[in-house]
């Protein structure tokens, strides 16, 4: 983690210089509760994410971080409270869910690339079938994003032929091809070897510089420190503490936060 913060030190400034945060909320979560059958996994979550804001969520394993961001594009259903994404409230209505999912990209811990399709096909699948973008155009966009994640030469290979870091960059590019307004990252680097972490983080940092609204679940505290506008600490399904990175890391208030930081920043 510290390694990352050094190597990307020069990018820190530019990241912080990113376009000012908007005042229109991209995501509003109001009094949200979720249960897995009888297990109360998310408790009274209140969170407003402004347009262009970058949020990092941290917390011990099982604290409900993944569940929280998966609720945002309704991979999980919540039972109480409201989630409003881009002005659309998430309900059981399939049309709204589709509307939200088109605007929200998600990157998974285990990449979840489609192994039977080439990289290019992975990238163009959703633009063609969901957005109805002509193939030629979709391929051009795909190549553009592959260049951004620095692997255009892999376009015709299959996911199984790529390294973990490359696969995760393809996964990011795949989400970007849908030109989402919001990106969700669920521990995108925790399945990667250390030397591959940086290449993925670099892509995420450059996204942040462009003012993408992002919610990242990650334990890369260096990344959080450089890029985030806000760090949220969760435990036992609730938000324990949130603050600007500077305050969060150097002046934590809650005992749990202190304990967590002392363990993770050792």
């Amino acid at each position: 983690m510290t390694q990352t913060s050094q190597t990307t030190a020069d990018q820190v400034q530019s990241a912080k210089k990113a376009p000012a945060i908007g005042t229109r909320p991209a995501i509003e979560i109001i009094g949200m509760h979720k249960w897995y059958s009888d297990f109360h996994v998310l408790r009274d979550i209140n969170l407003t994410v402004q347009d262009g804001e970058r949020i990092v969520i941290a917390g011990p394993s099982g604290s409900g971080k993944s569940t929280l961001i998966r609720c945002v594009n309704r991979l999980e259903e919540h039972q109480e409270g409201q989630i409003i994404v881009n002005g659309v409230e998430l309900t059981a209505d399939l049309k709204r869910i589709d509307e939200v999912r088109r605007e929200v990209g998600m990157v998974f811990q285990h990449f979840n690339l489609f192994p039977h399709l080439t990289i290019l096909q992975n990238l163009t699948l959703a633009p063609i079938w969901v957005r109805g973008i002509p193939k030629v155009e979709a391929e051009a966009t795909a190549m553009h994003y592959l260049e951004r994640v620095k692997i255009p030469e892999q376009a015709n290979k299959f996911p199984g032929q790529l390294s973990g870091g490359q696969q995760q960059r393809v996964a990011i590019a795949r989400s970007l091809c849908m030109q989402p307004k919001i990106m969700l990252f669920d521990e995108p680097t925790s399945a990667l070897d250390p030397e591959m972490v940086k290449e993925v983080l670099d892509v995420m940092i450059s996204l942040a510089e462009e003012g993408m609204t992002m919610i990242c679940v990650t334990h890369e505290m260096g990344f959080a420190h450089q890029v985030a506008n806000r760090v949220i600490f969760m435990d036992q399904g609730q938000i324990i503490e949130q603050n600007e990175p500077e305050q969060f890391f150097f002046n934590p208030q809650h005992d749990r936060t202190k304990l967590f930081l002392s363990q993770i920043l050792r």
């Binding site: 945060i21 509760h33 249960w35 059958s37 009888d38 297990f39 109360h40 408790r43 009274d44 039972q79 109480e80 506008n229 806000r230 036992q236 399904g237 609730q238 938000i239 324990i240 503490e241 949130q242 603050n243 600007e244 305050q247 208030q253 809650h254």
Partner: protein
């Protein structure tokens, strides 16, 4: 920008889930009526159950004629299954033509078998090695003497008289036991680098797996006697055993091969680097690991074999199914419109109980092995 700092002062305790997602009503809603389509399926499913369960219940239990019933009751127009028939012919279904006065002998064999076999299946019971030796070497000899007789003052009982469940069990247990070492040899041969041995093993395995068991049994029954020196007579049971064992060993070889392939190369290399030769590497390092992995596969083979024993009627053995069929066709005193159905139902239940419990056992072992592997 406003201050975004936030610290929770008091933890929120867990609340019970809203009724809509927990409790029996939620279960019904989620598992039976989640969508309109689901509701339709549920209704059709219920109707299907209503249509099939009551008649089935009536046949098997409701209007069935119990063990003490008479054939007249079985012949009544609305009578269900004729369990009296099964009860009266039970001895034949279990022992075939084995003399009734001598049936204590197979009973001892059954009891001994259960006594030795069940502990072998339970992973926690100790003395596996002694147990296995007893079961694989001592038990067959004792059983053979007990069943065949002719020594120690036991009445001689030719194998033609053996039948029913006894034969089904003998053929499947002997078949699986003999085919196991054969399968290991074939699997090792298939992996061999020696071209002659490899070709022979591949040819044998693939040929056997390509043809139906019934043709192999035809071969065992008609061609095997031709292959023997003139004047040798071959016991029918022996023919069946040869056919079944050859057949099963090819399938066994494939199961064992799967286990061998699951062993990482590093294990072979570690063995070699310790200076162990081929046979030592196999015996001490590779096979013990591989065979643990193939237990579920072996059990599945055993299930198939157990079902396949019903084909040995080809060589003229009266296994459980053939015994039932014989009685269905010939027990004139029990002739009724439900006799045959009851007979087959009974045989099906016996086969089902054996096969289903073995398949549960195989799943149990698979789970156990999987968790053991991860640790």
């Amino acid at each position: 920008m406003t201050n975004i700092g936030f610290v929770r002062s008091e933890l929120i305790p867990a609340k019970p889930a809203p009724n809509r997602i927990s409790g029996p009503m939620a279960w019904v809603q989620k598992n039976l009526f989640a969508t309109p389509m689901d509701a339709v399926l549920t209704v059709f499913g219920m109707l299907f159950l209503l249509w099939i369960v009551p008649p089935l219940f009536n046949f098997v239990i409701g209007q069935a004629v119990g063990p003490s019933g008479t054939v007249e009751e079985c012949r009544a127009v609305d009578a269900g299954a004729c369990w009296a028939y099964i009860y009266n012919e039970m001895k034949f279904f279990i022992y075939g033509f084995f003399d009734i006065a001598e049936q204590w002998r197979p009973n001892i064999v059954f009891a001994l078998g259960a006594l030795l076999f069940v502990p072998l299946l339970i992973p926690k019971v100790p003395f596996k090695r002694v147990n296995a030796i007893l079961f694989l070497l001592v038990y067959p000899a004792v059983s053979y003497i007990l069943l065949a007789g002719g020594v120690f003052g036991l009445l001689e009982m030719p194998t033609q008289k053996w039948g029913g469940l006894l034969i089904t069990l003998i053929i499947s247990v002997v078949g699986i036991t003999l085919s196991f070492p054969l399968g290991i040899v074939l699997a090792l041969g298939r992996q061999s680098t020696l071209p002659v041995i490899k070709t022979l093993c591949v040819a044998f395995i693939e040929l056997i797996r390509a043809v139906p068991l019934i043709t192999i049994l035809f071969m065992a029954s008609i061609m095997l006697p031709l292959f023997m020196p003139q004047g040798t007579t071959m016991d029918k049971l022996l023919r069946a055993l040869v056919g079944v064992t050859l057949f099963t060993s090819a399938y066994m070889a494939e199961v064992v091969r799967g286990g061998l392939q699951a062993i990482p190369r590093g294990q072979y290399e570690a063995g070699a680097s310790l200076g162990l030769g081929y046979s030592q590497r196999m015996y001490f390092i590779i096979l013990p690991q591989a065979l643990k992995h193939v237990i579920p596969g072996i059990v599945n083979n055993f299930i198939s074999l157990f079902k396949d024993t019903s084909l040995v009627y080809i060589v003229g053995m009266k296994d459980l199914l053939e015994a039932v069929k014989t009685k269905n066709d010939s027990a004139l005193e029990w002739q009724s419109s439900n006799t045959a159905t009851t007979g087959y139902l009974f045989a099906a239940m016996v086969f089902w109980i054996f096969c289903f419990s073995m398949s549960r056992y195989s799943i149990f072992m698979e789970r156990r092995l999987n968790t053991g592997h991860k640790r």
